[in-house]
Symmetry: C2
Subunit: 206 residues, 2 copies
């Protein structure tokens, strides 16, 4: 049976992703400071030995989780920024897609870490800040463009608006924690409000 006899690379990869997933859930629930590596390893079906064999320590593990989330998020949500032509449509599409993305249990990880490391000087905090700043830098010109085109009314500076937009979409989705139709619906509403748009015409946005 090849089922029992696995290659080393395969074992390594399986262990790594199992630990990564457990760590992501743990970070989302408990945050960084309260994350106990023993629990993470146990929940993944291993001991701390396996964890330390794959990651150099707690910090490295958290950074790997952040990178992993960023990757999947970009593939699932972030790409919309480039694929949707109209800036306003793109912003609203991201809000709804983010709600869908966050229906899994990893949802809160980024927000938890961001609030935990806000105003600190920690590598993990810097990694999160960097992602967030990149998104702000990506959405700020979209808002500016929408206002120039006249599809968005004037309002507070685009950067401030972008920051509020991101924080809001994140918070709404977490507050509703996957209550299926309403998370996307309310994320959409909040985004429209922040951008100064009137309510959506009618019927819940699919």
């Amino acid at each position: 049976m090849d089922g029992a006899r696995r290659s080393q690379a395969d074992r390594r990869a399986r262990s790594r992703s199992a630990i990564l997933a457990a760590a992501a859930r743990g970070l989302s629930r408990y945050g960084y400071a309260n994350l106990v590596l023993d629990r993470v390893a146990a929940e993944a079906g291993y001991t701390r030995g396996a964890l330390y064999h794959q990651f150099s320590g707690k910090e490295d593990l958290a950074l790997a989780v952040v990178a992993w989330i960023e990757e999947t998020w970009t593939a699932e949500v972030g790409r919309l920024t480039r694929e949707v032509a109209d800036p306003v449509e793109a912003l609203l599409a991201v809000a709804r897609a983010h709600a869908v993305y966050c229906r899994r249990d990893v949802a809160g990880a980024l927000m938890t870490l961001r609030t935990e490391f806000a105003g600190q000087d920690h590598p993990v905090g810097r990694a999160i800040m960097k992602i967030f700043d990149r998104l702000v830098a990506e959405y700020t010109p979209l808002i500016a463009a929408g206002r120039e085109r006249g599809t968005l009314p004037p309002g507070p500076p685009p950067e401030e608006t972008a920051r509020a937009y991101l924080a809001t979409v994140e918070a709404v989705v977490i507050a509703l924690a996957g209550r299926e139709p309403y998370d996307a619906e309310l994320a959409d509403r909040a985004a429209r409000g922040l951008l100064g748009l009137p309510p959506a015409p009618a019927g819940p946005a699919g």
Copy 2:
């Protein structure tokens, strides 16, 4: 000089509020797990001895901070719910007042603690949850009333809307961290959006 010769009760009260204020700032910046009592006491001008004389421990201190914030918040923001007659006006007034309230440095404490203890079973977490649930229970009927009067359009269930409203106002204000006119302006926009209202007529809401 009576300045040097203070009564015991006075000393106690001064120490207590100094420690409480330091703890509030510390919780807002570092959260509960990363809060070091030695630093709190030092920042207040004391040592841990004084702290343990006034509070039974870290948990008790955090609970006292939560109670203190709830008190000041209710006196400054929460009262609007009862003082403003129209439900929709009340909701928007609270959003703006919350932004103003959060311009002080204690702002993030409640949100930090709430995210830190979300999904845990910790006394501090329960205290925060209780406050939050009380607010949800207070705002849910306001939304329902607005919809019945026709001053609010229909939308997701009132409770979900109330939760999203609270989380949003909180998040927007923290994301903008006291950037003076825009925090209130964007909190107002987000609240309007969530409630399904059209944008405010014109001119930044004072």
